[in-house]
């Protein structure tokens, strides 16, 4: 039986952690795209809701309008890594199409998709969690420029030599070619490091998954794919879920959610619910 385990919104959660924004972390876990959508629709979901209610309210936005939900998802993802409205519109023309507007005298004009992207991005950065992200981006660029290196808590370093560049014509500093990579580096690298540690902790907690012919078969981005005997699939699922959702001491005890699904092939996977996954496992992680 195939078993696929996937870290939920890991990079968004890490952005929130790096930004020192508990509200962003909470929203990333609950569904920040839906939350932003509620803001642009003029009916903001209050942040003081209990976790479960917040998640339900955010998910309800997706049911309300799946297309708009996707639009907001693009805004959050790309804005976290300093994507400009032009870049967002260029990357996702389906979500941000150019609009033909008929004027009062019957003439038409085209409003580029980037205008909508900018409006939504402005809304995002006007919120408290959005401002936290903006501040973190600025700090990250300054550190990368000053020290030429960014370091993660997992010991991965990356050097950056052109974060800001001085434009002699305008006499001003502008973003250099390393700027956006510098902002994206730590969340992306840390997500990968966490996946390594998850895999190693699974190997410690359930060595039988790696003995003989390995049941672990494939990593695909933030997910790990196993092929386990049907009789032991639930045992494996519970251990793997615990490994994925363990608190990370390097990140002050931060936890990251996980989705685990099983099926005969990757096209017919069925997600396991949290109750099934949280049943007591005898093996400590």
């Amino acid at each position: 039986m195939l078993l696929e385990a996937d870290s939920a919104a890991i990079e968004a959660v890490l952005v929130g952690w790096l930004a020192g924004s508990p509200s962003f972390v909470r929203l990333a876990k609950s569904g920040i795209h839906g939350w932003l959508m509620s803001h642009t629709m003029g009916d903001p979901i209050p942040l003081d809701l209990p976790d479960r209610d917040l998640a339900v309210a955010c998910k309800a936005m997706k049911k309300r309008d799946a297309h708009e939900y996707d639009v907001h998802k693009r805004i959050v993802h790309l804005s976290n890594y300093m994507g400009t409205p032009e870049r967002i519109a260029e990357e996702y023309p389906d979500e941000f199409p150019d609009q033909v507007v008929v004027g009062p005298r019957g003439g038409t004009r085209i409003i580029p998709g980037s205008v909508k992207a900018k409006q939504l991005q402005d809304t995002f950065f006007a919120t408290g969690p959005g401002q936290d992200v903006r501040k973190w981006q600025k700090q990250t660029l300054e550190i990368a420029h000053r020290e030429s290196v960014l370091k993660t808590v997992f010991g991965v370093w990356h050097y950056f030599y052109n974060v800001f560049t001085y434009d002699t014509k305008s006499g001003q500093w502008r973003l250099g070619e390393d700027a956006k990579r510098a902002v994206a580096f730590r969340p992306q690298s840390m997500a990968s490091s966490i996946q390594d540690l998850i895999l190693l902790s699974i190997a410690r907690a359930a060595p039988w998954l790696f003995e003989g012919r390995s049941s672990f078969r494939l990593p695909v981005h933030d997910s790990l794919i196993f092929d386990t005997p049907k009789s032991r699939v639930m045992e494996a699922a519970r251990i793997i879920y615990r490994c994925f959702t363990q608190p990370w001491s390097q990140l002050g005890g931060l936890t990251i959610g996980a989705e685990v699904s099983i099926g005969p092939n990757l096209g017919e996977m069925v997600a396991l619910n949290e109750e099934e996954l949280c049943q007591q496992s005898m093996i400590a992680v």
């Binding site: 990357e91 050097y159 070619e177 580096f185 997500a191 012919r213 794919i225 092929d227």
Partner: protein, 616 residues
Amino acid sequence: MIPSATSTPNGPHCAGCPSRPTGVRYIPMSGTGSSGIMAVADSPWVDEVKAGFPFAGAAGAMLDRLLRKLAMDRADLTLTNAHHCKPRSLGFNDYPERFPEASAAIEQCRPHLDDEIERMRPRVLFAMGNVALRRLTGATGVESRHSYVHSTSYGIPCIPTFHPSFLMQGNHKLSPCFLFALRRASEIADGLYRPTSYNLMLDPSVDDLKAYLNCFPRDLNELCIDIETPESPHLDEEETEEKGASFAIIRWSFSLEDGTGVSVPHEYPYTAVLRDLLSRSAVMLEYTESFFDSKRLRASGYPIPSTLASPMWAWHFLQSDLPKGLGFVAPFYYAGPPWKHLSDQQPAFYSAMDAAAMQSVWLGVRGDLQRQGRWESFMTHCIEVDRLYVRASLAGVRINRESQEALRLKLEAERDEVYRKLQSEVPLSVRPIKQWRKPPKDMTGVTSREMECECVTLGLNECRRCKGSRKVTVYEKPLDFNPRSSPQVIALMRFLGVPVPKNRKEDRETTEAKHLKKLSKKHPVFRTILDYRERDKLVTAYIWPLDDQGLIHPTIGHHPSTWRKSMRNPNAQTIPKRNDLAKAFRKLIESETAALEQEPGATIAAGVMVGGQNAS
């Protein structure tokens, strides 16, 4: 050599120079040379002509910034060029094969530089960029030559590095390499340079080899090993897997301690020694990260140590932004002349040096990572986790062969259908046309027309094509429109009066999907092109070749600088996620237990041999 008095612009040595009359812009050397270093670049440009001294423009500002980092000043150096006049265009000197006059001009300028070297008598030459490297040493390829100590015809050592202008053009990450090379040049100039000394055993007798190995304990820890195949010296071993490089081993080399290297042919009785050596080692170090060496050794039946590691991984963990090839990395841990160009002339020396340098790199990088407190991180995120990835790769992923074949046929049929639809949508005038001067054998779809002859006459003879009539018949057939061809898609855009989109970063015309998607709203033909490309990509990229047991064995690597995992042969991380075909594709990846349920009587072979490789 010319007397210094004549080393002037438009002097007698400039006669016949391809750069003349631009010789009036002759830029002489500058600086006191008090450090004993003469830095040579390619040629002056506009800013230098205006200012009258080398490195006056943006590249000069970059050079000053770099020098400041080592508390040096440009006045400490002698700054000059291989070609003392402004060339006719940028890049003129960089491509001698494209501009033979450039080589001639540099050669013409030789006496000027010779004279400057004679007058300044520097203790070291510092070649900045390929043009200077070629001029001073005759060698090419600054990336694989940087920071090595080269000999020159002047009897003065030369240290090559990158040109400051190259660093400015998106290569800032190489700035530390420039500084490293300059430090090495300073060491030579100050008499502080100490070359690395290697003890190499080249083709020793088997008794001598055994005696040497007896000096080590029975259980060895780390074994640096390098094998040579008939083509490996001429290929990038990282890229050979796709090119079907041979598995024949002709030579093997190893190093067990720093400063040593041994190279022997791959033939009996040395093969028995190799087998013994591999069985005694706990860790096998091979430089390439595509397991080039271990794959070939395993295929030849040698026992492979339980842990494989690559000094290249360690280097990448230390400096993820820099190139990873041994030729590039070695000078940071080895001081001496280059050897990578000797693969044909001195194969044993070349191979032993590879093994010895690999050992130096491994130990040197380990020391650096330990000093940074990152060695444990490297062991965790690379070596320990890689063992699990190697096991995953060996176990493989089951692909449903029948469903894959069905999907392939379906995709190909759909693709061909879209292709036919596209041909009817594209106007005839946009399609490429094949022309013949004589009627082709198959005249299907061929039309003919008369046109003016571009008469070709030899001497007084009449034109052989038109026989003097000035008219010729040409035969033409419109070919199919190729939706994968960017020039053809751009031609279609122009025909439809659509502004051709540009790649914002590279300032070039593009036919990327996101732009075609946008254009398709007004011109549906671009949607058809996208449909074709999507299906074609699925056929070519995702219908992976399977082994005998219906498995794929992707190799998981550590390429990205974020230390995310990369994958190749095939890259199964690019499973389509969102489009309508994704589900059909994801269905192909199935559980083996599910497959067994469909194949009564089949059993799971635990620890199976997979593709000739047993799980380590």
